[in-house]
Symmetry: C2
Subunit: 358 residues, 2 copies
């Protein structure tokens, strides 16, 4: 554990958002129907695995009553602490399909805790290991006085960090749901990300980081989606103004512009790198894990999910979904994902109380 004396700075009025998505700084008119929520941040002195001691500001959001079992919810590198509309922020969040009253992650049943990834604000220009994120979550739990998580639900990078947490802090975890993320980064996916980082660097050379970041994001979207989706969605190329314009370009432009406007290039580079450092030893994990893989995923091959399941030592379940959305299925296949979550969270797993080997 690299946590050193966390200092608590709980700020219930910390409503400003740093992701540029439409958000309100004051409670919206219909907030009374939205679940109550807390936002805050804690400052911790922290030893990064590859970059030494730093002071980190951990920004979290919590929805649901304090006495409920706590579920940590974490998404991809571009996700943040805001999961779904709540009383302090009625913006959509990144997972409104699964989070909310009557949904799979219901704040009436669980206290849903989430945080902004270490590095997400762009202030930390250093190598960030996924293990650092897991340790930061442990530090956050300490600061908030939460001894253990009922569950960790992670998607993509969140699943990778969830596996790190299960390995390093397994005594504080009841069960893990790891969706579309495994114990390692596949070398092909790593190459794809390295080239995205080069696109950012190419833009930076001409002081046009937004342009480079947009291009990087567009290549990333290709890796998140599938040929099947593009086949059904985009028309044939056209010649326009002496150039060939392909069907997906307008869509990719739109997505990338939105992304680049709300993302720090430094944050993108460091969190992208972080994915490539994923190196969990599944044999060291004893907590129950539900592994969810998508057959069409071009970033996380289903074979890696099989390998993970074979190597895990606790109670393990594998669910393989089919989806034309590939790696992004967790954002799109609402019914299938909800069913997985419902089963995984209501199972009568005995809490695993052994000491962590980490």
């Amino acid at each position: 554990m690299s946590l050193v004396s966390p200092a608590l700075h709980w700020d219930r009025s910390h409503f400003d958002r740093d992701d540029g998505i439409s958000a309100l700084a004051s409670t919206p008119p219909d907030a009374r129907s939205l679940p109550p929520a807390n936002r805050g941040e804690v400052e911790v002195a922290f030893c990064l695995r590859h970059a030494g001691m730093r002071t980190l500001r951990l920004r979290y959001e919590s929805v649901g009553a304090a006495g409920l079992p706590v579920v940590l919810v974490a998404g991809g590198i571009s996700a943040d602490r805001h999961l779904a509309p709540n009383a302090v922020d009625d913006a959509a969040g990144w997972w409104p399909s699964q989070v909310g009253e009557g949904r799979a992650l219901d704040p009436r049943d669980h206290r849903l805790l989430s945080f902004d990834w270490v590095g997400a604000d762009g202030a930390l220009d250093a190598v960030i290991d996924p293990a650092d994120q897991a340790d930061a979550i442990a530090a956050l739990l300490d600061a908030l006085g939460i001894p253990a998580l009922h569950a960790f639900v992670g998607c993509s990078y969140g699943a990778m960090v969830g596996l790190q947490f299960a390995q390093r802090h397994g005594h504080r975890l009841g069960r893990l749901v790891a969706i579309s993320g495994t114990h390692r980064a596949h070398p092909y996916a790593s190459a794809w990300r390295a080239l995205q980082r080069r696109a950012v660097a190419l833009g930076a050379l001409q002081c046009d980081e937004v342009h480079g970041l947009s291009l990087a994001r567009q290549f990333a979207i290709l890796s998140y989606r599938t040929p099947e989706e593009f086949e059904s969605r985009f028309a044939a190329p056209q010649v326009r103004g002496g150039r060939v314009h392909v069907g997906a370009e307008d869509y990719l432009d739109h997505c990338a512009a939105r992304f680049a406007a709300r993302t720090s290039p430094t944050a993108y580079l460091r969190l992208s790198e972080s994915i490539d450092l994923q190196a969990v030893e599944p044999e060291r994990i004893r907590v129950p894990v539900t592994v969810v893989a998508v057959a069409e995923d071009r970033l996380v091959p289903v074979a890696d999910a099989y390998a993970l399941v074979e190597r895990l030592r606790g109670e393990t379940r594998l669910r393989v979904l089919r989806s034309p959305y590939g790696h992004d299925a967790f954002l799109k296949e609402d019914t299938a994902i909800a069913a997985v979550l419902a089963t995984a969270l209501t199972d009568e797993h005995a809490p695993v109380l052994e000491e962590s080997a980490a």
Copy 2:
């Protein structure tokens, strides 16, 4: 047919190469053991489908005696007229595994004709349709006094152009072997290429076309290869100098530097675009076609090869290969490709003498 009055400029001493690969301007010492070859160029006035009348210089290479049945051999957009070592150029060429004495494409059995793609020299900054390439080949045949091809063997873009030739000039074609290229560009592959072109454009903004072209090529390589190959080939990422360096980066750098040094950005952009304009109607093709697809191909999904085969109207054969090299299998799976070529070229197909519908 858009051919207008080809003017012949046959130049047997035109030995200079424009692709930067090591080449000799004079006959090498061991040239007596290499097959005799001709290189030349013809200038034609030509109506491009999307860009009107132009004067084009068609650069060709021919190996094998004049009286032999002629086989046109064409590769991907970065391939050129030099297939394999011969008496005028002992450089390796792009297909030495299949071309040469004792190989599947043997200049003692066939006269092997090849040419540099229209646009490959970078002098033509205009939209180039794959149909233009097929018509340019017809113009080249006119100029060389070749009434018909025994066969057209095309790989990747070459297969696309081969299908165009079969549709537009079927009366001049005995059979087609279309390897890893079909009647259309898949929308996902088109998006991938469009982003590569944006990488070139991003480089051009800072007057660093080589940097942009390198990045584009690196993304292209990912599309040509497969996760299976990268899995077996590259080591885990490392932290070097405060950055994450992934296993494939050195390899990608090496390939891209070699490519960027010998490729005109304009040529790359225009030929990349050209792929996306592919639009053949297979129902209009009556010549025998052998379609070769690779199950792992991430650019040309095997489903597109199935669709092509279903729609072709002449004698049709399908060969589906498995290869960790994906789209690049034609450059790597020497034995399997040689077997396909041997069968396709020696079959007792009756020449198809019908008039082309084009």
